[in-house]
Amino acid sequence: MEKMPKWADVVLIPLISLLLAAALSALVILGIGEDPIEAVKTMITGALGSTYGWGYTLYYATNFLFTGLAVSVAYHAGLFNIGGEGQAMLGGLGVALICLFIPWPHWSIALIVAAIAAGLFGAAWAAIPAYLQAKRGSHVVITTIMFNFIAFSVLNYMLVNVLKPQGAMDPATARFPEAIHLPSLHEILLPLGINFSKSAPANVSLLVAIAACFVVWLLIWRTWLGHEIRAFGKSESGARYAGMSPLKITMIAMLISGALCGMMAINNVMGEAERLVLNSTEGAGFIGIAVALMGRNHPFGVFLAALLFGFLYQGGAELALWSSIPRELIVVIQALVILFTGALDNMVRMPLEKLFIAVRKEKA
């Protein structure tokens, strides 16, 4: 018998975790002598009060969608990919090479090729830890996080020594050509009569990310490959009995995961910055872990969680801008949300399970 109904697991626990995190954040804000209600208002207006705010919220959410999906695909195979940061950096390199050195006639073709390149680069970066895990049993948690550091160094070397335009001081590539500028939400929505903010970075990549949600859902729950990935994630001996190859499944799941992380680059590198800078990923690879945890590794959950974290990012930035709450505290608030929704899941789950069992007993 299940300890509690599914809706409680999927909706109630994240909601309570979120409220707890909010309450604790409110206490912290009170502690430094600020008004928490004002702060929430600032965050909501800043992130959701205008199309400009929405534009940023959705831009961040797009990043988190890619990395969140990536973490959840690996998770279904029982693998914990915390190398999203490095895989996304390499994806950025792939996008930059495609955009800088090939003259594309139209953004749409460039987007398709850049997405493929980003995916390939991200997948390649995940391939080595995956192979080491599958063949040698080196734990992916260790190897993927080490690969984050290597990725950073590779990117640093490439930007400083290879891709930096001559004479430039900044370790960044040149701007991508104007012809491959991705349509922003402003440009997409204008023909529909909606005047979306011109300066917000949300762009067509959001639609790619939403499509990726659907494709991942199909893959995991509607194909035999998804069946194998999930079976392997639950029981390796079971997978072996059923004739599945642990090596192949580990490789495939990690390659898909790496590719999804890499594809984030079409949003932040191609869509927003339109050049490759050193710290382009801004921690999105790590946020993906929290997004996947909170979204219960289901694409729809990941979608909602990505929106929430997008809101937190943009709302937090606005808070830093318009209040005297220091920047560091905003990081604390974001960290609290991650802590409660991700790491402290059991703290909410266990009392809630007891409650459900008690209520059921009352009824009987």
Partner: protein
């Protein structure tokens, strides 16, 4: 007359709508072995959990040695002199025996005095009950039977007078089981009271003084064992007449289906588990492999099922089967019409978190009839699941229920249905009825015999000698990775096979 060691009066316990225990009363005299028998899900474990303080009864009283006792938690149970040996041991694998015994019963902050005291106590217990265990051996280095003794020692060290054993022989080999019962016998003669939960009729008949039968949460009868019979108890358990012997006509073996020559398997640790065996299974016969667990039977099944690699020659219908490399996986075996019911359904045969319908596709998930274009045809799988559930009487017949929420017998029915309904030419079946209730055993045995009668070859591995003898047409005995001898099942008995299982060569036995 002395007060009963345990007296339960009107115990009831419900989980939501499920009445796990309903108005249960028993009385157990001190110095006896009292058996509790019932099918899976009859409420035996719930009742014991109430006695050990894991659950609180909704109604009813517990009396220990004539005193009304409240048992809110396991600490209280230990204080009342109740010890429990669980089916799955609760031992710390990298601790020594001694450290495990004192775990949770240390005196003071320093370990050394506790260890010294426990060492002395263990010595005394070993002498008193012939419970010999090396106190300095690490748990992961000793066998299952020894581990179980440590569990018993743990309970005795905590001054238990009442010992509850939950399916104690489920993980034991026959000889280990015999040793266990010698120990229990000794404990009884020293005045300890033992509650034995089991579904094995033989254990009840041979070792218990009194027996209670449970069915669907109720105690249907408590009788003196010697006044009862297996048939009567089985009927009380299941609620209808049960066939304890397998009903089958003599086999009509045809052409050889599976021919094994010089098969060897080396495990991951480099130990040779199967040491060059030769076997033939013909169409229309059941070849049973008897043997004490751990003598290479599991590895034999695994290499034939494509789960591990081996060397030697294995032919199916005369065509060689690859034993390593390409084509040596479970998928290729299934494509070659080999069905495989693995020994461990919980970690191999099923994915416990998967829905029943996903488990019906498991292993055959790439079959064309389950595909629709690039996607899986889940509706087809579910329809197939419903059909199989109906045919194999799986309860509840709900394709959406997770495998872990079925009873052991129904889980096994799902696996057997999946493998048999594919109409395999060769069926590998390991421990077909381990942890399965009596009603389901009868059903599964019937299905195996029916498959044989269709002219299929069946290779059966079981540590239950009774099952081997009643189901097989021929019996081969495995010992230390080798075949000690082969006998027609109707021309041998447990004694002769038992000798070969202990390593005495077939010619001598």
């Amino acid at each position: 007359m002395t007060a009963p060691a345990i007296e339960l009066k009107g115990i009831s316990k419900a989980f939501g709508p499920v009445q796990a225990n309903k108005d249960i009363s028993i009385s157990v005299q001190p110095g006896t072995i009292h058996g509790i028998i019932g099918e899976n899900g009859a409420g035996k474990s719930t009742l014991m959990s109430i006695l050990y303080g894991f659950y609180k009864a909704d109604r009813g009283e517990i009396w220990i040695n004539g005193n009304k006792t409240e048992i809110p938690d396991s600490q209280a149970a230990i204080a009342a002199g109740i010890g429990m040996v669980f089916q799955h041991f609760k031992l710390v694998e990298n601790f020594t025996v001694l450290e495990n015994v004192i775990l949770g019963a240390e005196d003071g902050g320093l370990l050394r005095p506790s260890l010294a005291k426990a060492r002395k106590a263990l010595k005394a217990l070993a002498a008193e009950y012939e419970l010999n265990v090396d106190p300095d051996a690490r748990i992961d280095e000793i066998g299952v039977g020894m581990q179980q003794r440590v569990e018993i020692l743990k309970a005795l060290y905590r001054q238990a007078d009442i010992l509850i054993l939950d399916e104690p022989t489920g993980v034991l080999t026959p000889s280990e089981a015999d040793q266990l019962f010698r120990i229990l016998d000794r404990l009884r003669s020293e005045g300890k009271t033992i509650l034995l939960i089991t579904h094995k009729m033989r254990e009840i008949m041979e070792y218990t003084d009194t027996v209670s039968v449970m069915r669907r949460g109720q105690m249907t009868a408590t009788v003196k064992t010697k006044d009862s019979s297996p048939e009567e108890l089985a009927e009380l358990m299941v609620g209808r007449k049960v066939l304890l012997r397998v009903d089958k006509v003599p086999a009509q073996p045809g052409a050889p289906i599976l021919e094994i020559e010089g098969l060897r398997v080396v495990d991951d640790a480099g130990v040779e588990r199967v040491k060059g065996i030769d076997l033939t299974v013909r169409a229309g016969e059941i070849l049973g492999i008897a043997g004490v667990a751990g003598n290479g039977q599991s590895e034999l099944m695994e290499v034939l099922g494509g789960m591990t690699v081996g060397t030697g020659s294995v032919r199916l219908h005369g065509n060689p089967l690859p034993l390593s490399g390409l084509g040596a996986d479970g998928r290729s075996r299934r494509a070659a019409h080999i069905g495989h019911v693995p020994e461990d359904r919980q970690s191999e045969g099923l994915i416990m978190d998967f829905h029943a319908w996903e488990n019906v596709a498991f292993g055959y998930h790439r079959s064309p009839e389950y595909q629709k274009g690039l996607l899986m045809d889940n509706a087809a799988v579910r329809a197939d699941t419903e059909a199989k559930m109906a045919k194999f009487d799986v309860r509840p017949p709900d394709p959406w229920l997770a495998a872990k929420n079925f009873s052991g017998g129904n889980q096994q029915k799902i696996v057997v249905a999946r493998e048999i309904e594919r109409n395999p030419d060769l069926l590998l079946i390991g421990q077909p009825t381990r942890g399965v209730d009596i009603g389901a055993i009868e059903f599964i045995h019937k299905q195996i015999v029916a498959l044989r009668d269709q002219g299929k070859a069946i290779l059966l591995v079981s540590v239950e000698l009774e099952e081997i003898l009643s189901l097989s047409d021929r019996v081969a005995v495995m010992f230390d990775g080798q075949i000690m001898g082969e006998r027609p099942a109707d021309q041998t008995d447990e004694k002769a096979l038992g000798l070969m299982m202990a390593g005495v060569a077939g010619e001598a036995a």
